[in-house]
C-alpha cells in the first residue's frame, strides 16, 4: 500500500476522535518499527570502518535514522555492515558472526572491497566480494564511501524493509525457513568453501592434464 492510500483510508472516523485515532496496516506498523531501529553489528574491517565511525559523529549523525546503536555482539544486531576488505583469513570469523545473528538480518557491503574485492581483488588473500558467501542486501560504492554515501545506502536498506510484508517474510515461514545458515569455510592450502567440495576435488585432480595440454 502506498503512502497516499495510507493517509486517506476509506474508513469513516467520527469527527470527535479524528485527531486521536490513526489507521494503518499491520505491515506498515511492523516495518516502521524495524526500519527505525536497525542496529548494526559493531564490526570494522578496514578503511571503510573509519568512515563508518565518521558517519556516527556530529557532522553526519547516523542516529537521525535510528541506526547508531552499534552492538558489539552479533546476538543483538540486525544488520551486518561489512566495512572493508574481506580477507580469506578473516572470512570464517565473518561467517560465524553472520550465523550467530538472529533473524531478521541484513548485510550491507560497504565500499568497493566488500562488494567485489575492489583495488585488492587480485591479492592472494582477498575474497572478491562478500556476496560470494553472504546474501547482500545493499551495495554501497566508493573507496571508501563518504559518510553521506553510507547514509544513503542505509536509507536504501530502510526502503527495502518498508516493502516487506509480515505474512511473507522468511523468518516467520516455518516450512521453508532454514535460518539462513552459511556453512563455515575452512582454511586449508587455500580457502575451502565446503559447499563446493566435490567441484574443488574434481578441478584439483584435472589440473595437471590442463596444464600439459
Amino acid at each position: 500500500m502506498d503512502n497516499e492510500k495510507l493517509s486517506l483510508p476509506n474508513y469513516n472516523i467520527p469527527q470527535d476522535i479524528e485527531n486521536v485515532v490513526a489507521i494503518t496496516t499491520l505491515d506498515r506498523l511492523y516495518n516502521w518499527g524495524r526500519r527505525s531501529s536497525v542496529w548494526p553489528l559493531m564490526f570494522g574491517l578496514a578503511c571503510c570502518a573509519i568512515e563508518m565511525i565518521a558517519a556516527q559523529t556530529a557532522r553526519y549523525d547516523m542516529a537521525r535514522f535510528g541506526m547508531e546503536v552499534m552492538r558489539p555482539t552479533p546476538r543483538q544486531a540486525d544488520m551486518m555492515l561489512v566495512s572493508g576488505t574481506v580477507t580469506k583469513k578473516m572470512l570464517p570469523s565473518i561467517i560465524r558472526l553472520y550465523n550467530q545473528m538472529p533473524e531478521p538480518k541484513y548485510v550491507v557491503a560497504m565500499g568497493a572491497c566488500a562488494s567485489s574485492g575492489g583495488p585488492f581483488k587480485e591479492g592472494y588473500n582477498v575474497v572478491a566480494g562478500i556476496d560470494k558467501f553472504l546474501p547482500v542486501d545493499v551495495y554501497i560504492p566508493g573507496c571508501p564511501p563518504t559518510p553521506q554515501a553510507l547514509i544513503a545506502g542505509m536509507i536504501k536498506l530502510q526502503e527495502k524493509i518498508d516493502k516487506e510484508s509480515i505474512s511473507k517474510v522468511r523468518w516467520y515461514n516455518k516450512e521453508k525457513f532454514d535460518g539462513n545458515y552459511v556453512p563455515m569455510p575452512l582454511l586449508g592450502p587455500d580457502l575451502i568453501d565446503v559447499r563446493r567440495n566435490t567441484e574443488i576435488r574434481d578441478i584439483a585432480a584435472k589440473k595437471t592434464t590442463q596444464e600439459s595440454a
Binding site: 578496514a46 565511525i53 580477507t87 585488492f120 575474497v127 582454511l187 587455500d190 575451502i192 578441478i203
Partner: protein, 581 residues
C-alpha cells in the same frame, strides 16, 4: 638530507676481511655478509659501531641469480645515517639464515614475515610460525615464481587491458572461477584443519603456581578478536590468563593482509601511490610522503620548492588529526564511550575538508607525485588552513587537555601502567611517540631529516616515564610542535611550480635499491624499493610502524590486567591496514 642515509660511515669490509664484502652492484649500497659470520658481524654492528636500532628486515628473491637475500637496515638512536647489510643464500629449499633475535629482539615479527612470505628459515628463532597467512597455506607468496590465483601477467599494465581497453573477468580464467588455487590432487573431504596448536603452545604458561597462601588458580586461554570492539580493527590476541592477570600473550595478525607487497610489485611506480593511501588509512598523506621520498631518492630528482612546503603542511595536518583521533580512541577504550572522540572527530572533519579541497577525496588522498604534488593549493584553501592552524586547532587542543588531563579516572587508568623503559623500547625496535615517551629523543624529522624539516624551528617532544600517561601527554606535545611547524610553513610557503617533473604515466627509475623513511604519526614508516630499471619495482616492501611496535607488546603487558591491555593497544596506536598490509 635525502642522501644522508646512503653514505657509508662505517667500513664493515675492512673490519671483517674475508667475512664481509661491499655490495658493488650498481645502485646498491651496504655490505654483503657471509651467512656463517652473520651473528658475529651483527653483534659488532650493534656493540662496536653502535647501531642499536634494527628497523627493517626483509627478503628479496633474486630468482635470475638463484639467490635469496635478506636485507637488514640498522640505525642509531642518536641519529644519522644507517647501515645496510645483507646475507645471500642459495635459492634451494630449505633456505636457512641465522636469526638475529638474540641481538635485536625487534626482528621477531619481521623475521616471521620473511619466513611466511619468502620461506626463509631463520635458525634459532624460537617461534617461527607464519604471521600474515595461516598455517597450512600453500607456498610462500612473495617468491617470484609463486603466482596468485588471479595471476594474469608479471607486471602491469596488462596487455589484455591496455592499450585496447578490453576487459575480462579474472574469474573466467581461473579453473575454480574464484580467487582460489589448490595443489594438484587436493581433496577437501580428507582435509583436516590446523588447530593452531603451535600458537597455543607458544603461549607462556606458568604451571607451578602453588605458592603458600595463594589461592589455587587455573589458567585459561582466551582469544580476543579478530572481532573485538577494542582491537582497532581485526587484530587477534591469544592470552593466557590467571584470573584477570595476563601470563602470556601472542598477537595473531594477517586478518587484513591485503597483499600490498605482491600487488605493489605488479604495479607501475605511479600505480602504487593510491595503494599506499590504504596502508595507514588515517594518514594517507604521510604514507604518500614516505613512498614518493623513497622513489625520488632512487630517481635522484629534486622536489619543487612550493611542493615541499605543501607536503610538509599536509603531513603535519595529518599528524594533528591522527593524534586527536588517538586521544579519542584511547578514551573509548578506557570506557568513556564516544564523548571525547566526538570532540576529536569534529576537528578531524575540518582537516579532512582541507584534504578534500586539495586532493578531491577525504581519506584516500593520492595527492603526492614524484617531484611534487598533483594539484596546487588554491588561495582560499590556504586561508582555510591558516584559520585552522592559527586559531582553531591550538584552542581546541588546549580545550581537550583542560577537559581530560586532570580527570581522576583517566589518571588512575594511565599513570604508572605499562611502563616501557628506553632500553627495552630500543631493543624491540619501537619507534615514534611510544619510543619518545620513554625518553629517547628519536624523531626522524631531526635524527635523519628528510624533505625540508631542517628549515623549521621545532622541538622533539620527549617524555621520560614511558608509562601510559606519558604516552598520552606526548601526543598533545606533538600536536603543539606540529602546529609550530605548520605556522612556519604557512608563513614561508613560496609561489612557484608544484612539480619539478613533467606529468607522466610512467617514470624512469634507474636500477638500484633505496630505503626511504619518514616520521609517520605512528613511528618510522619505511619503504624498501629495489628497481631493475623497468617500469615496475622489482621488490617493494613496506616497513610499517604499527607492525614493529607491536613486537614489544608481549613483554609490556605481562603481569598486568587484561583491561589495561585494551588500553595498551590503543596507546600503541596501531592501524590494521598498516600492520597487516
Amino acid at each position: 638530507m635525502a642522501t644522508a642515509t646512503q653514505t657509508q660511515t662505517v667500513d664493515l669490509a675492512a673490519r671483517f676481511p674475508g667475512m664481509v664484502s661491499a655490495d658493488t652492484r650498481p645502485g646498491y649500497t651496504g655490505f654483503i655478509v657471509n651467512k656463517d659470520n652473520l651473528i658475529e658481524v651483527a653483534t659488532a654492528v650493534r656493540d662496536e659501531f653502535g647501531f642499536d636500532l634494527m628497523t627493517a628486515v626483509t627478503g628479496v628473491d633474486y630468482i635470475a641469480e638463484n639467490k635469496m637475500e635478506v636485507v637488514y637496515h640498522a640505525f642509531k638512536t642518536t641519529g644519522g645515517a644507517g647501515l645496510v647489510f645483507k646475507v645471500q643464500v642459495e635459492r634451494v629449499d630449505p633456505i636457512e639464515v641465522p636469526s638475529l633475535i638474540n641481538i635485536w629482539p625487534g626482528v621477531d615479527f619481521q623475521e616471521r614475515e620473511a619466513w611466511d612470505l619468502y620461506g626463509i628459515k631463520f635458525t634459532g628463532h624460537p617461534d617461527l610460525r607464519r604471521i600474515l597467512m595461516w598455517e597450512g597455506f600453500e607456498g610462500h607468496p612473495l617468491r617470484k615464481d609463486w603466482k596468485e590465483p588471479f595471476y594474469e601477467e608479471d607486471v602491469k599494465p596488462y596487455k589484455s587491458r591496455w592499450p585496447e581497453g578490453n576487459h575480462t573477468y579474472a574469474e573466467e580464467k581461473n579453473p575454480y572461477r574464484d580467487n582460489l588455487n589448490f595443489p594438484e590432487g587436493f581433496d577437501p573431504e580428507k582435509f583436516t584443519v590446523d588447530k593452531e596448536e603451535d600458537l597455543y603452545l607458544s603461549l607462556e604458561r606458568d604451571t607451578a603456581k602453588d605458592v603458600d597462601g595463594s589461592m589455587k588458580t587455573e589458567h585459561i586461554v582466551v582469544n580476543m578478536g579478530p572481532h573485538h570492539p577494542s582491537t582497532h580493527g581485526v587484530l587477534r590476541v591469544a592470552v593466557t590468563l590467571d584470573g584477570e592477570t595476563i601470563i602470556g600473550l601472542k598477537p595473531v595478525m594477517g586478518y587484513l593482509h591485503r597483499n600490498h607487497d605482491k600487488i605493489g610489485e605488479r604495479n607501475t611506480y605511479l600505480q602504487i601511490i593510491p595503494y599506499t593511501d590504504r596502508l595507514d588509512y588515517f594518514n594517507s598523506m604521510s604514507n604518500n610522503f614516505g613512498y614518493v621520498t623513497t622513489i625520488e631518492k632512487l630517481m635522484k630528482i629534486q622536489v619543487a620548492e612550493r611542493a615541499e612546503y605543501i607536503r610538509v603542511i599536509m603531513a603535519e595536518l595529518s599528524r594533528v588529526q591522527n593524534h586527536l583521533i588517538f586521544i579519542g580512541m584511547l578514551m573509548n577504550d578506557l570506557g568513556t564511550m564516544y564523548t571525547p572522540s566526538l570532540y576529536a572527530f569534529e576537528e578531524r572533519e575540518l582537516v579532512l575538508d582541507i584534504f578534500e579541497a586539495v586532493s578531491g577525496t577525504r581519506m584516500m588522498c593520492n595527492y603526492f607525485r614524484f617531484g611534487g604534488v598533483v594539484r596546487d593549493i588554491p588561495d582560499y584553501v590556504l586561508q582555510k588552513i591558516k584559520d585552522l592552524v592559527f586559531e582553531r586547532l591550538p584552542a581546541k587542543t588546549d580545550e581537550m587537555e583542560r577537559f581530560l588531563n586532570e580527570n581522576e579516572v583517566l589518571v588512575a587508568r594511565l599513570k604508572g601502567i605499562h611502563v616501557l623503559n628506553a632500553e627495552d623500547a630500543i631493543k624491540y625496535s619501537v619507534t615514534g611517540p611510544v619510543l619518545r615517551a620513554t625518553g629517547v629523543p628519536y624523531d626522524l624529522r631531526r635524527a635523519d631529516p628528510y624533505s625540508i624539516y631542517d628549515r623549521f624551528d621545532f622541538d622533539v617532544a620527549v617524555r621520560h616515564n614511558g608509562d601510559m600517561m606519558d604516552n598520552y601527554l606526548i601526543r598533545f606535545d606533538e600536536i603543539r610542535q606540529s602546529l609550530r611547524i605548520l605556522e612556519q610553513a604557512l608563513k614561508q610557503i613560496p609561489q612557484g611550480p608544484i612539480n619539478s617533473q613533467k606529468a607522466a604515466y610512467q617514470v624512469r627509475v634507474p636500477a638500484g635499491e633505496a630505503y626511504g623513511r619518514i616520521e609517520s604519526p605512528k613511528g618510522e614508516l619505511g619503504f624498501y624499493v629495489v628497481s631493475n630499471g623497468k617500469p615496475n619495482p622489482y621488490r617493494y616492501h613496506v616497513r610499517p610502524a604499527s607492525f614493529v611496535n607491536l613486537t614489544a607488546v608481549e613483554s609490556m603487558c605481562k603481569g598486568s590486567k587484561i583491561a589495561d591491555f585494551v588500553a595498551l593497544l590503543a596507546m600503541l596506536d596501531i592501524v590494521m591496514g598498516e600492520l597487516d598490509r
